[in-house]
């Protein structure tokens, strides 16, 4: 035995382990792609996941650290066939080779995802997603068609919300499987069937919750094209938060959940009731305003309109006033003139020769010719003279003439 050991390099366990690690690294480089079935899957509180990949004959331990695990967008379960990329390493303390997983995908998705991206591009180029092709939803859909599974959560959610919020809406359900083989064809056929009914105002295509796997039927070309060709507007409530499906993109409107789709209808009803109420009020205001306006006009016209009786009385009053005025004026006129007349008469009387006579003066005239005598020399003795006094007169014979005597 001793002879066989001489001259041979003797490794320690650690050394040999290190060698093995180096061989792995040089052989597999930065990483390899491995496909297998998941088993013994466990996640620890640290966030690290430990599982095994196996096939019919062999098993490979694998670890997926928290950093990578948190990026995984699908549910990892025992039995799921996956494809992993990672480094082959040796875990020294337990002498175990293992795969340190950097990427993990469900098997088959790679090819399918690629096909999906290609289809999406093709349909986009054809204009299936164009917003100008999208139809307006009806003002109020009184009859709604639904394409979904009769046993699923979607129909229950929708019916519940409609019954509570908008029981005026009638529903026609066209049941179809929403996942699995042949589901896409059923969904497409369902949309076509509902399009046969002229009185359906709106179609909802929907499914309840589920993973990306489950909604694959709604990514199929036949569904997308049937949605595009639908004459009736379609709301797609399929994608949830995970992915926007092709059905969503082609539909006239898409929402995340069946509940959201039903709520759109209920909101329309509420909004319309509000509009009707305010229109009613507006009409009322208009009519009331019009009546007020007419009433005001009428009152105004009535006031400015005088009855014939009023006019007559007015005229009579005017007449009375004029009469009084006239009377006053005449009186005044008479008064003034009476006064004038009186004063003129007084002056006249004062100037009257007869007034002079009342003061004792007399008027003498030659009886022979009647001429008033002012000068004594016009007389001769024995002339007969008539003298007019204030009261009466006498006739006398001149005895003597006195001339140029200012005072007698």
């Amino acid at each position: 035995m001793k002879a066989q050991l001489e001259g041979k390099h003797i490794y320690t366990v650690t050394q040999i382990t290190r060698e093995i690690k180096a061989i792995f690294e040089s052989t597999f480089g930065l990483g390899v792609w491995i496909e297998g079935e998941i088993s013994d899957f466990k996640i620890y509180p640290s966030g690290h996941a430990y599982f095994s990949l196996k096939d019919s004959e062999s098993l490979l331990n694998a670890v997926m650290f928290a950093r990578v695990n948190s990026q995984v967008r699908f549910k990892i379960e025992n039995g799921l066939k996956v494809v992993c990329f990672g480094k082959i390493d040796v875990y020294g303390p337990r002498g175990q080779h293992q795969l340190i997983v950097e990427r993990i995908e469900p098997k088959g998705v790679g090819a399918r995802q690629l096909a999906f991206e290609q289809l999406k591009l093709k349909l986009a180029k054809e204009g299936l997603f164009d917003s100008k092709h999208k139809k307006e939803l009806p003002l109020m859909p009184f009859r709604v068609g639904i394409v979904t599974s009769r046993a699923g959560a979607a129909i229950r959610d929708i019916l519940g919300i409609l019954k509570k919020g908008a029981p005026c809406v009638n529903v026609l359900l066209r049941s179809a499987r929403v996942q699995g083989e042949g589901a896409a064809i059923e969904i497409a056929q369902g949309i076509e069937d509902l399009n046969q009914f002229k009185n359906i105002d709106l179609i909802i295509v929907s499914r309840g919750g589920g993973s990306t796997e489950d909604l694959w039927a709604f990514n199929e070309e036949i569904v997308a094209r049937t949605v595009y060709n639908s004459k009736i507007p379609i709301i797609s409530a399929v994608g949830h938060q995970i992915n926007t499906s092709l059905c969503d993109l082609v539909a006239d409107l898409f929402v995340e959940t069946p509940t959201a789709a039903a709520k759109i209808i209920v909101d329309k009803k509420i909004e319309l009731l509000g509009i009707l109420e305010s229109l009613k009020h507006e009409m009322g205001f208009s009519v009331t305003a019009k009546i007020s306006l007419i009433k005001n006009n009428l009152t105004r016209l009535t006031h400015s309109l005088k009855s014939p009786l009023d006019r007559l009385q007015e005229k009579q009053q005017l007449l009375d006033e004029l009469r009084i005025n006239m009377n006053n004026n005449i009186k005044h006129f008479l008064n003034i003139n009476r006064e004038r007349a009186r004063s003129l008469i007084q002056r006249l009387e004062a100037l009257s020769p007869l007034a002079v006579l009342s003061r004792g003066y007399s008027l003498s005239m030659n009886l022979s010719d009647g001429i008033v005598i002012r000068e004594a020399k016009k007389l001769k003795p024995k002339d007969r003279v008539k003298t007019i006094l204030n009261k009466g007169a006498f006739i006398s014979r001149v005895e003597e003439i006195i001339t140029d005597e200012t005072n007698v």
Partner: protein, 81 residues
């Protein structure tokens, strides 16, 4: 009586037109009252259509290529809608 979507939309349009005409103030009193009456009738009909509470739920059945509808029974609650 279920209002058809089309006649509902027509009624609503007509109602909006009436409201416009009334608020323009260009109508005579008689015309205004007539239009008001019509407007109120339309608004009542539309409101009634929206407040209808008889939800009808049917399921489409196809047999031998022929379609027919039937009342839909919720499998979970067994409730006949």
């Amino acid at each position: 009586m279920t209002k058809e979507k089309q006649s509902f939309e027509d009624d609503l349009k007509r109602l909006q037109k009436i409201v416009e005409e009334l608020s323009s103030g260009k109508l005579t009193l008689q015309e205004a009252l007539k239009k008001y009456e019509e407007g109120i009738k339309l608004s009542k009909e539309c409101s009634q259509a929206l407040e209808e509470a008889q939800q009808k739920v049917e399921i489409l059945i196809k047999k031998d290529g022929k379609s027919s509808t039937d009342s839909f029974i919720d499998e979970d609650t067994g409730e006949d809608k």
